[in-house]
């Protein structure tokens, strides 16, 4: 028996060993390496590099472009996340409402989700074509006399930002709808029945039954969307010239990191510094949201059960 148990214990390690080795080699070490590079003046052009302490970080904090990139990334994410959650919530409530009986709910949400799977690089190039000066959007607007002459959408700061926000919303609201629906359908129907007997209206049921019970999924949506949003790259990179034009309107953290990396000298030290800063910022905020909201959720569970 004892022998058998020892054998099984060892096998447990054996099964998880590839993951742990893989994680150390391809996960943890690159993080360490990025961190140590951020303290050096390393470039791709020379073999040696010097330890320069916090100089990269000092330079980065003095660089107004970095502030622009961070602000842009946050704004582009928040502007898409709020309508994304709002519309998804509306759709999820409608699709799961037993009285409304919306037909073919499965087909609707399947079609709404589709943009999420398409290649972001191709999507960005597609919207570039759609909104280019001679593109279909201008053709439509001019021919139907909605505007007197074609607009150069992608040279206008605000419009370009709006397009990025729209694309992000367009790609993600379907996924959010599906997640919220899964959470809502897993709520026991007897809770709503009891509320109806107590004379609660739809809003009250949503506010006091649905909303508290879908909180864990909302945290999941919030955190995954935030982590993804802070790394926004493909869409803003490929919508315009790859430098966040016009006038840095859609310059994001990752585009800035990429520009340092691909600069003529290949400043990987400075690029790593940006990576480290976004890493710290994102991880901190993600863990903070998770921690704050989870505590409250446990409280709720404690009170009701």
């Amino acid at each position: 028996m004892v022998h058998n148990k020892i054998r099984r214990i060892n096998h447990g390690y054996l099964f998880v060993a590839p993951f742990i080795i893989g994680f150390l080699l391809f996960g943890l070490y690159p993080v360490y390496n990025t961190l140590s590079l951020s303290f050096t003046d390393a470039t791709l052009m020379k073999v040696d590099s010097n330890f320069i302490g916090l100089k990269n970080f000092e330079r980065l904090f003095q660089d107004k472009t970095f502030l622009t990139a961070v602000t842009n990334t946050w704004e582009l994410w928040i502007m898409n996340f709020i309508p994304q959650l709002g519309i998804a919530m509306l759709l999820a409530v409608w699709f799961t409402d037993v009285r409304l009986k919306i037909k073919a709910g499965g087909v609707w949400r399947m079609l709404f989700y589709m943009p999420n799977l398409l290649m972001p690089a191709a999507i960005a190039a597609l919207y570039f074509s759609l909104f280019s000066y001679y593109g279909p959007v201008n053709q439509f607007l001019v021919r139907s006399n909605l505007i007197p002459e074609a607009i150069d959408f992608l040279r206008n700061k605000e419009i370009t930002r709006a397009i990025v926000v729209f694309i992000q919303w367009w790609m993600w609201y379907g996924q959010t709808t599906i997640l919220l629906m899964a959470a809502m359908t897993s709520i026991s129907i007897s809770l709503y029945e009891a509320a109806v007997i107590d004379g609660a209206n739809s809003w009250k049921m949503f506010r006091y039954i649905t909303l508290p019970l879908i909180k864990p999924v909302m945290i999941y949506i919030l955190v995954t969307s935030l982590v993804g949003g802070m790394q926004m790259f493909d869409i803003p990179m490929l919508l315009t010239d790859g430098r966040g034009s016009p006038a840095n309107a859609i310059l994001t953290n990752n585009i800035m990191m990429y520009m340092r990396f691909r600069s003529s000298q290949g400043h990987i030290g400075a690029a790593s510094t940006i990576g480290v800063m976004i890493f710290i910022m994102t991880t901190f905020v993600a863990l903070l949201i998770f921690y704050l909201l989870r505590e409250k959720h446990d409280d709720f569970k404690g009170k009701s059960g």
């Binding site: 998880v16 590839p18 993951f19 589709m114 398409l118 570039f128």
Partner: protein, 281 residues
């Protein structure tokens, strides 16, 4: 009273369907325009919008090839990477999850909690350190640097841990042990066959993510003949293709059509799979 209520529900229902229809048009129109324009000549595209396909697909394709865009090669490159990544992710993540679900060992709880945290941490941001590290081994501009990291995919392990817990049949595993099967043999011959539906679901997501991945490939791959599909798509923005709209749309369409086909074939797996990691039963 009841009649009034019915009328108001019907009015509400009408507006909901109207809203859904508008949303559907917004969602599908850009993709439809992409597919239609891929079949139209540049002249037709410049003349105006059409929602009906034309017949210039082949000539658009010839223009693409004549400008040096090797679409078949990009296709093959992306397929190779996505297939290898999928197999490795599915196999090793299930192996790890099975180790956590099926065995007791010291540090298991710590390992699992670390995986939970890792799911939330943006590891991709260490790409510069990863690049420099890979270049020391001469692995930049090599597909291995894109494929090997999938041995340790925290998200996939998390998915399989939840999944295996719900389908695990301990009696079958014990029976296998009595029959003298090795522990790895039990995983391969008993656990894996039961877990095929889950493996398939995760496999689709991994494949799509790898097929669409632009950032990592853009940093790690440099030589033109190793370009993946998203990297080729990015070159369509260049001056060489200026005003060859039909050809550009075709290049973009070619990179999204395989995914659209996969989606319509397996949408049930995909739609159900989205919530599997997030909603606990």
């Amino acid at each position: 009273m009841i009649k009034n209520y019915r009328i108001s529900t019907n009015i509400l229902r009408f507006f909901i369907y109207l809203f859904l229809a508008v949303l559907l048009i917004i969602t599908l129109l850009p993709v439809w325009l992409l597919l239609v324009n891929a079949t139209r000549s540049t002249l037709e595209i410049q003349q105006g919008i059409s929602l009906l396909p034309s017949q210039y697909t082949l000539s658009n394709y010839k223009i693409l090839l004549s400008k040096g865009l090797d679409l078949p090669r990009g296709f093959l490159n992306s397929l190779t990477i996505a297939a290898a990544t999928t197999v490795i992710t599915v196999y090793f993540s299930m192996l790890t999850a099975y180790g956590i679900v099926g065995y007791e060992f010291k540090g298991k709880k710590f390992l699992y909690n670390s995986i939970l945290v890792l799911v939330m941490i943006p590891m991709q941001l260490s790409i510069i350190g990863f690049y420099q590290y890979m270049s020391r081994f001469g692995l930049t501009d090599n597909y291995l640097s894109l494929i090997l990291p999938s041995v340790a995919s925290a998200g996939a392990v998390f998915f399989f841990k939840q999944y295996l817990e719900s389908i695990m049949i301990q009696d079958l595993i014990d029976a296998g042990r009595i029959d003298g099967a090795s522990e790895l043999g039990i995983f391969h011959r008993i656990m894996f066959p039961i877990a095929v539906p889950g493996a398939f679901t995760l496999g689709i997501f991994t494949f799509v993510a790898s097929w669409n991945n632009f950032f990592n490939a853009y940093i790690l791959i440099t030589s033109r003949q190793k370009y993946t599909l998203p990297m080729l798509v990015q070159t369509l923005r260049g001056d060489v293709y200026r005003h060859e709209y039909g050809a550009i749309y075709l290049g973009l369409a070619a990179s999204v059509i395989p995914i659209i086909i996969i989606y319509f074939l397996f949408s049930r797996y995909i739609v159900n799979g989205i919530s599997m990691g997030a909603v606990k039963e």
